[in-house]
Each structure stands twice: as C-alpha cells, then as structure tokens.
C-alpha cells in the first residue's frame, strides 16, 4: 500500500496533514531544504513535530535537500545526529557526497534521494541506491514505463510527486533564479542560506514564470509575451495506475500554501487512495476530478500571488 506523504511547512501544517490522513510528513531544517526559511522549521519544532508524528503512528522526514558547500557538511552531520538522538530516522538529501557521508556515519538513517537529484532513468536510480538511498523521487515528468523499470531493475523505493510545482527546466538543473539575484547569508549556526538559489537555499524567484520577448540576433522581435512551457502538475488521473505499479510513496508538495488548503488537499488524496484500494474494479475517477478542480483553483490563486511577489522581490535586489 502506497504511503501518502505531505508537506509540513509549520508545526500546525504537520498536525493538519497527519490529522487529514497523511501517513508521513516532510519538514525542512532551517537553511537546509528546497524552500525559503519561512517554510522551514527550527530544530525544536522539528523534534516536537517528530514526537507528535510518532505518537500518531506516523513518520516525519527531515529534508536536508539543498546542495551545500563542502565546509557545511559537518553542520549537516551534526544536525542529523541531533535528530537521530531525538528518534528521527528519515532524511531527504540531494548531495551525493552528503548522502554517502550520512549513510556511512549513521547506518540506521533512512535516506531518500530528493526530487533535486533529477532522477530520469533506472541507472540514475541505481546510482543513488549505491550512494546510500533506500528510496528515490522520480523526476516530475517521468513516464510509467520508466517507473516500472525502476521498480523492476533498481531495487529501490520509488516516490512520485502527484501534486507539485514544476519548472520549465528539469527541476534541480536550473540556476536562472540565482543568475538574476543571489545573496549569501550565513545564519547563527554557520549555514549559508544562498538566497535566490533553489538548489542551494530553496528560495527561487521563479523568473521563468514571467512573460518574455524573444529577440533575434539583429534585434527584431520574433515573439512577444512568450510563456516558457510549464503546466501545473497534477496526476490525479494516474493515482490508480501508480498504486497498481507498486509506487512506494505518493507525495503532495505544498509547504508554501495555507494550512487549510494543504489539509484539504491531503484529505482529498487520502479519500481517493482509500476508495481505489477498497474497490479497484468499480472505482470511477470522474467525481474525484470535479472535486479536484476546486482544490486546483484555490491552489492556483495562492500560487499566482506568491509568484508575483517573488518576481518583484528579485527585481528589488538588483
């Protein structure tokens, strides 16, 4: 039975997603995950949330999935040790070296290779398994055939994002944001938050989502108001197939959304998964799609507002 994993941007969100039916929740350690600090948690909040999850019989995963500087890896290991002592066992990482170091130092740690690893083929999945990961996140647009191959060939858990923010570029292979604006900001623990780099600090200014003019070499406009191809990403229709395929974790992103919206999203996916598993032959998708439309529209409204804010924030720094 696939695990339903949801986002925990705040302790309130952790409680909301678990109460609404998530089996597991992921949270970001401050400065260490692919979201800006306001959607990450400090260590005490993480330890308390982990304890809440454990008492509910559920799992809390800590995301350390930014790509650090070499000198920051000891900080990561020290933080992991602290969380392990508090009973947290599950971590999400991107940096291959950090992954190898963590699995060597703490063999009990369960490591998932993050969406930031941009895992696009079964050989990729096998590489990350060798680096210490027990589960890998499929690149957002991976087709089912590739997923099937990973399940059959790689011998590693497979996690699929079904409700995510995608990028024009391959997620994890883009530095457009930090090209326009990047600031190094070191926190009290010595961690650089690399503001403006989604890979390194989590904050992305989403400049790809603005409209562009395409100009030829001689300066003439070839096209105005070009939107780089990037469609919102919901795999509701695919959930039955993903379950049949034996996907280990179905993940919903959303740390930056309101607690009420995230709670509603989790409840929706929980009920959908349960309904399908309960009676696969007579399951019908249509009513679920109608309900989903309402969630998507609320989500898009929150997202549009955030994107506009991020783009203007990028401009103010230059």
């Amino acid at each position: 039975m696939a695990e339903l994993l949801a986002s925990g941007g705040t302790p309130e969100m952790v409680r909301a997603v678990l109460e609404n039916g998530a089996d597991a929740v992921y949270v970001g350690a401050k400065g260490w995950s692919r979201r800006r600090a306001q959607y990450e948690m400090d260590d005490d909040q993480i330890v308390a949330s982990a304890s809440y999850a454990r008492e509910a019989g559920k799992v809390l995963r800590v995301a350390f999935n930014t790509l650090p500087a070499s000198r920051e890896i000891p900080l990561l290991l020290a933080k992991a040790e602290k969380f392990l002592a508090a009973g947290v066992r599950d971590f999400i990482l991107t940096d291959v070296g950090a992954m190898a170091a963590l699995s060597r130092r703490f063999p009990v740690a369960q490591i998932h290779a993050s969406v930031g690893c941009t895992i696009v083929n079964a050989q990729d999945a096998r590489f990350y398994k060798e680096a210490g990961a027990s589960q890998i996140v499929a690149e957002c647009r991976m087709d089912r055939e590739e997923m099937r191959r990973i399940k059959e060939e790689a011998g590693v858990g497979l996690e699929v994002l079904v409700h995510a923010t995608t990028c024009y570029t391959l997620l994890g292979r883009c530095t457009m944001s930090s090209y326009t604006r990047q600031e190094w900001r070191i926190d009290g623990e010595g961690k650089n938050h690399f503001l403006g780099s989604p890979n390194r600090g989590g904050l992305c200014y989403r400049i790809c989502l603005t409209e562009w003019d395409r100009i030829a070499e001689d300066g003439t406009a070839e096209a105005r108001g070009v939107v780089l191809p990037n469609v919102a990403y919901f795999l509701v229709d695919d959930i039955p197939a993903l379950i049949d395929l034996g996907v280990d974790t179905i993940k919903i992103q959303g740390r930056e959304y309101s607690v009420s919206l995230v709670g509603e999203m989790v409840r929706f996916y929980r009920e959908l998964i349960d309904a399908y598993v309960k009676d696969r032959p007579s399951f019908a998708m249509e009513p679920w799609k109608e309900r989903m439309a309402g969630i998507v529209s609320a989500r898009d409204a929150e997202r549009r507002e955030k994107t506009a804010g991020l783009i203007s924030e990028s401009l103010t720094g230059s």
């Binding site: 790509l67 650090p68 500087a69 070499s70 890896i73 940096d95 291959v96 070296g97 950090a98 190898a100 170091a101 690893c117 696009v120 083929n121 079964a122 050989q123 990729d124 096998r126 590489f127 990350y128 060798e130 680096a131 647009r141 991976m142 087709d143 055939e145 590739e146 191959r149 024009y168 570029t169 391959l170 292979r173 883009c174 530095t175 457009m176 930090s178 090209y179 326009t180 990047q182 600031e183 190094w184 690399f194 780099s197 890979n199 390194r200 400049i207 790809c208 409209e211 562009w212 003019d213 395409r214 030829a216 070499e217 070839e222 070009v226 780089l228 191809p229 401009l315 720094g317 230059s318």
Partner: protein, 311 residues
C-alpha cells in the same frame, strides 16, 4: 607552474568549420542539450573516428559530451555513444547524468569521465564518490564559488574545469522554447537553434538555444587569470556551443595570449586589443558573479567592469 589546458566546445561539423582551433589545447565535441541538434557529434557516431583522429593528429586532446538528462529510451544510444567514443580514441566522456556515469562503469570504464556543467557537483565529498566511478575531472555547478572550487579540487582529488569565458549554462529542459509544435512535426526543427535567440523581460536577458537556457551576459575571467593560476587551476573552458566561428576563434586567441603572459612571469595586464575583442563579441556585457558569491549576472573586476544596463 603546471601546464594549462584551454578547451573549446563544439557541437557539430557546422561549428567546427571555420573555427580556428590553433589557440586551444583541447576540444569537447557535441551538444548535451538536444539529441536533434544537426550534426551533433554526440549523436552522429559514424563521424567520430575521423573527427577525433583529425583533432588528435593536430595535437588536441579530444573529449565528447553525452546527453544532459537521458530518459530510459535514450540509454541504448548512450551505450553506443560510450563504445564509439572509446573506439574513436577520445580521451574522456563528458557526463552530466549519474545514470550515464554508472553505465560507463558497467562497461569497465573504457575511458575517464569528466563531469559536465549539469552534473550538479557542489562538494568535495561528491567528487570523492564520483572518483570511484572513474571521474577524473569535474566542472562544478555554475553556482559554486572559486573558494569552494579550490576545496573541491584539493580535497575531492579531481581536476576542476573552470569556465573562463562564454555563456553560462543555466538550465536544461526537454521542451524546446523555439518550437510551437512537436519536434517531429515542426518544420523549424532542427534549423531554429542554428540561429541566435534572446529572451528578454524587465531587466533580464537570457539566451535560449531551444532546450538550453544560457546567460545573456558572457562569463569573463580574463582579468582574474593570475588568481585562477595561483589557486592551482589549470583547465579552462570557453563555451563555444551556439556561438559563431569568429567568437570561438578570436576569444580563444585572447585567452591563449593571456595564459601565455600570465604564465611567463612577466607583469600581467589586460591588453586593449583583448578587451576590444571580448567586447565586440559580447552583446550584453560580462559577468562572473557566481565565482565571487554574488548574483551570477554581476561582474566583479576592475578592468572590464563597464557593461550594459540590461542583463
């Protein structure tokens, strides 16, 4: 001082033609962005033996790139590519994807790997892991600073390739920004990316090559060459993909002369004619901010600092 290596990247015979490779010690062949680039050396394998032999005979080191993000359906081609590159006598395969690296190891490492710009190598510990897979050289992610690159090189036990000039690869995608319809159906493919296209909005300018997003400004480290050399870096790349033959030829000559001067023991200074060449080939000005911990589009330096208001 250790010998330096100046590398040019070339996607296809079309880019090879009319490019003066005299200033360069090495060539990296092929485009990692798109398998449909016309004449892509990393795609049209029968071309490799003669091309590699010709360049080797001219005294060049020859490397061949591989697709930046191959799906499973592309892996049979990757297998053939590795065999062909090794058989042709190239000295390394440029690798952007860990799956490709793993296949190279499964084949018994017939040639070393150089990790490319999209491999996301940020730390010395990652370099150490990659070394076990046959990696000899690493091009760190664009965001990695010079200081971090020194650590990566020293403690990772790998050579570090430094991008010294050209457009910074910023992103790679599977959806061509130059086509409005599918690749197979589009009459514009593969000719669209043979022309130059810029994306502009607000105060930003980027260059698009279809499936690759590049910086609008040119990375320029000319005035920092002595610092790079004293930090121990010896491998320098000029990004020549999707540029003109004159760009590759003339910028190569500038960096060759500059490297010769910087390693001669004589005082180093930017010659006005060098600056003229670089400016002539730079539509949007220069940048190098990532190396100094700033926004990638910023330029840090005292000599070539003036640049256009747009980035």
């Amino acid at each position: 001082m250790a010998a330096t290596e100046l590398i040019a990247s070339l996607a296809s015979p079309r880019e090879r033609e009319a490019t003066d490779l005299g200033p360069y010690d090495a060539v990296c062949l092929g485009s990692p962005y798109c398998r449909r680039v016309r004449g892509n050396f990393a795609e049209e394998l029968p071309r490799l033996p003669e091309t590699v032999a010709g360049l080797r005979a001219a005294g060049k080191n020859v490397y061949v790139t591989s697709p930046a993000a191959p799906r499973g359906r592309d892996l049979p081609h990757v297998e053939r590519l590795i065999d062909a590159v090794a058989a042709a006598g190239a000295q390394a395969l440029e690798v952007h994807n860990m799956g490709v690296l793993r296949i190279l190891r499964e084949k018994g490492n017939p040639l070393p790997a150089h990790m490319g710009a999209f491999a996301n190598v940020y730390t010395h510990l990652t370099a150490q892991v990659l070394r076990e897979y046959g990696v000899a050289r690493v091009r760190p992610n664009a965001e990695v600073s010079l200081q971090e690159m020194e650590i990566l090189s020293r403690e990772g036990g790998v050579e570090v390739e430094v991008l010294v000039h050209g457009k910074i690869p910023l992103g790679v995608t599977e959806r061509c920004s130059l086509l409005t319809e599918g690749e197979e159906a589009s009459p514009s493919c593969p000719s669209a990316c043979e022309e130059t296209h810029w994306l502009t909005t607000r105060q930003w300018v980027l260059k698009t090559v279809g499936k690759g997003i590049l910086s609008g400004r040119d990375m320029c480290m000319l005035e920092h060459l002595p610092r790079l050399l004293s930090a121990g870096f010896t491998v320098f790349k000029v990004e020549g993909l999707h540029e003109t033959a004159a760009y590759r030829s003339e910028i190569g000559r500038v960096y060759r002369e500059a490297l010769d001067l910087a390693t001669s023991g004589k005082p180093y200074e930017i010659r006005p004619e060098w600056a003229d060449v670089l400016r002539r080939h730079s539509r949007e000005g220069f940048c190098n901010g990532y190396y100094f911990g700033k926004s990638g589009r910023f330029y840090v330096g005292a000599v070539l600092q003036e640049s256009k208001p747009k980035v």
